[in-house]
Amino acid sequence: MKTSNTSRREFLRDLGLSAATLPFVLNLPSLGFANQQARKQRLVVMFSPNGVVPSTFWPDEEGSEFKLKESLSPLEPFKDRLLTLHGVCDKVRGDGDNHMRGIGCLLTGVELFPGNIQGGSHTPAGWASGLSIDQEIKNYLQANDATRTRFGSLEFGVMVPERADTWTRMSYSGPNKPITPIDDPYQMFSKLYGKLKDRESLKSILDDLQADLKKLASSVSAEDRQLLEEQTTFVRELEQELKADAQQAVGHAVPELEPGIKEENDNMPKLCKLQIDLMVNSFASDFARVATFQITNSVGQAKMRWLDINEGHHEISHSPDSDEKAQEKLTRINKWYAEQLAYLAKRLSETPEPGGQGSLLDNTLIVWTNELGKGNSHTLDNIPFVLLGNGLDFKMGRALNYDKTPPSRVLNAIDQGVDFITGKSIKPGKVAHNRLLMSLAHGFGHRITKFGNPDFCGDGPLSLT
């Protein structure tokens, strides 16, 4: 709703910069590197839709000795930096169907407002009634001089439909305040580097401008000339400021984007790559410490023709477990998403941490997640949470399972709360995903005691360190 023009001004205003310092801000990249000393921590939340095929997704083993199954096989090179969390459930109920709550409550941990958006079942709903964890962490980092960055957070997307509704929004800056992800890499580029390009253009015209001013000054009266001479001085000052900026900006190479990639289904692989490259670059320049990466949307209908799959993703995800062909396709689809995650991890691991130790991946945690546990049941239990990277000092290289109930007893236990063999009341082994959201904040040193609906925050953050 806002133009990029106003957002730049808002940004300047938000920083409380006066007009006098504006020229220096032309070099926005140097505003990065807010803190050269302390360790920079980052969080990326990557989203893919329509659930997974549990049997080809979750490792059978628990602990550090585990094998990656087909869906996660592209992550093999990063196995020792991987943490899979089975048994984490989205327990938020209320208005909206599971796809809506699946994405709307995923990062917010709180109910949707009643509203006018009708899902495939259940009652209609509106937007989430609270902010999302990425924004909570961003606000925490932005509130501190040492961790504040130019943007705080960046919301990337790939092929997000041109409609704002509950199914297409994952991040919220507050109740009823969904954030629109930027799914056009060129738009993201101009948000990130527009000022740099402006600066180059500006530099290129200053000589002409000086010459023009000189010519004009010689043709007016002495009194009027004063005005033009004043402007000449300002232009000279601008030139010097731009020069000083250019020296500071060394090392902030602007990435080259392959031009003309249209936003079309078949371009998804290229679009993903462009967005990932931009994200890695913006981390290297410390434009932001938090990013979301939303590939399509809840109920996403990507047609992965490059995998020889011609049906839409959501359509296939409704197929029963018995439809082996469909399950095989779904496995391939999720494997492709895992490949995107692997590419992101690879790029981060290859990029040295500027002014710090190790690589960007050493200081970044990626959380890959989904609005559903499983597509054909629409369950919000066992939401895929796959964590990669060492940004939050979690103990990585493990497969955890919070679902302690033997599979055969699961249904009964959930329905009745009793173990039908022993007859004893059991505490379901699964954990609410609010607790994982809290762990993410705690990983940044932001020790919140609840997040989203407090009823699901009992026992505090999951201990992952």
Partner: protein, 786 residues
Amino acid sequence: MFLGVSTVCGADRTGEQIYQQVCASCHGLKGEGTIESYPHPLVGERSVGELTEYISKSMPEDKPGTCVGEDARKVSQFIHDTFYSPTAQARNKPVRVELSRLTVRQYRHAVADLIGSFRGAGRIDDKEGLRGEYFKARGFRGNARAIERVDPVVAFDFKDKSPDDEKMEPHEFSIRWEGAVTAPDTGEYEFVVRTDQAARLWINDLKQPLVDNWVQSGKETEHRESIFLLAGRTYALRLEFSKAKQGVDDKKVKEKPPAPASISLEWKRPHRITEVIPARSLSTSRPSEAYVVTTRFPPDDRSVGWEKATSISKEWDQATTDAAIDVATFVASRFEEFAGTKRDAADRDEKLKTFCRRFVERAFRRPLDDEQRAMFVDRHFAEGVDSETAVRRVVLLTLKSPRFLYRELGARSPTLRVGTSEANKPDSESQATDLFDVASRISFAMYDSLPDQAMLDAAAKGDLKTREQVAQHAQRLLADPRTRSKLREFLLTWLKVEHVPDVSKDSERYPEFNATIANDLRTSLELFLEEIIKSDTSDFRQLLLADGIYLNGRLAKFYGAMKDDAELPADAPFQKIDLEPDQRAGVLSHPYLMAGFAYTGSSSPIHRGIFIARSVLGRSLRPPPEAVAPLAPQLRPDLTTRERVALQTKPESCQSCHAMINPLGFTLEHFDAVGRFRKEENGKPVNATGAYRTRNGDEVKFAGVNDLAKFLADSPETHSAFVEQLFHFLVKQPIRAFGSNTRETLRASFVKDNFNIHRLMVEIMATAALTTHESKPQTPTTAINQ
């Protein structure tokens, strides 16, 4: 002491001698003042008679009453003619047309028109309201359209009913309104969509909604967003509304309980309150998208009463850079559309260059010569530079160039005289007046923006050389909405209310006077001004004499006193009402001004008197010698406001100005702090008699507002002041730089034209646009020896 005085006032002394002996020690040899005694120049507008009276009574300060009679008259005459009077000042101070940059308003309008010139205006019509299409479905499918009509405003509470029982079901329908909204003022507007259903609102940019509430979530029913708009322009508007569940179509749901639905489209204009957008601000036009520069600029210097743009600052320079970058980014994002070409077209580069040349020419308001074309256009399209970068550079260089940023710079550059057209050849005539300068003078004066194509064509053909030719264009431009908007702003400035004063009042004394009444009052005044602006006679005197006033139901109830005891229903819209004729006169007694020139709990004859003296009569008043807090009414409850003011301004040091201010302000004492007519104050009858001594020295007496208004409407002083202020507001250069007789000549033609403000604007243009500007200042004349 007595001896000394008698020597001074000897009968054979000239006025000059008396001045040098008695006055110069404090006032300086040429009336310039002295630092020790009187550090102000002796300048003003009193008549010789007034000066004589003042000097006799109070000068010299240490021995008042020692310079009287013929001596006082002689010394007054000398002072008056040598340096004191406006004519003497004009002689003494050289004035010239100074190099001026675009004012902030001019900058914004010039950029809007520059971009707009590549898009066309769209379709503008005068029909009020919005086109409404009603659909018997949740979406806007053509085959579901059931009603088409024009709705004057959008303020509907459908409850749980259908808009039309015969044509659509109550539980599911949608409406799309389209048209345009006109912004009266420049500034930040808030648009508010109030609804319990799905709704989306677009303003100006029809691709990106300003307000998007297609997801109705939770209990929020007020959806508000801001947008910066320029005054006098019309912006596209579209509003979509849908009473239905969105998302998955729930056709199979059988049960459809009745549910309420409502929608209203409101706005909050700058410094006003939120209200339903009135029909007069809506139209069924289809304007093209306008480009609005939203960069913040430092405000222009208005200390002389008009926007004087003869200085620049670092902040201003930075703002021009920021704005140029924004415009360059915008143009670069759609240059192919502007240039009428496509990515792979064979003649793409040629088309782009042509576009760039036009862009530069329009920005500079004149054709380019070969050298300039190379510098501003061609060289940026060099090898290895992609065309987007080239266009970006051209735009940046153009908008940073003094040729765009300054008015009347063009012709001063020798290279610019060698134009491509005949009229620009450096023959003796075009040396004197560059016709493209003439075109710019007309356009910037009439509507603060670039000359239109008709004027540029006329300049190129040499058809802007005579008064008649200039007048013809000025006449044509009177109907331009930008011109009307400028005139409107001038009238508000003339009335000293251009910045929407705070008129909140003491809520105990005036419990019914609230923000809504204050907002209505402003609207009432604006409607009156707009009526004058639109009328063909645009008679200046009507501003002072008209007995009608625009009231709605609320105002009528509050202000009452309608003629023949007429009444308005409480929800009546604005309409022109005749009040008791002896109680009101034109804008002078308009309750908005009366409330504005008043304290929260009492009237203020001083503020009212100063307004009449300064703004209406054009008298210059110095600031008070010391800041004085007004005497609080409760300290002297036995006194009327008039008596209190008289008491407080009794000292001689006050009287030099208040002798003029008070008797003018007292004539409006029938109007209390909220502008209501009153016959009594504190149980005492109101005394609204007043007086004024003209510049000729004549004493005029008034028995109230009607006498005052009649006097002012007929007074040459009022006419002169109006002429001068309008000239400055339009031309933004001192009127004296256009010849010492210009004001008088214009005044005479104003009288001859029955005080038609439109005609006066045309005359101002005919005078100012063709005046040759000296680039060298005149040599100051030494008045003292004249």
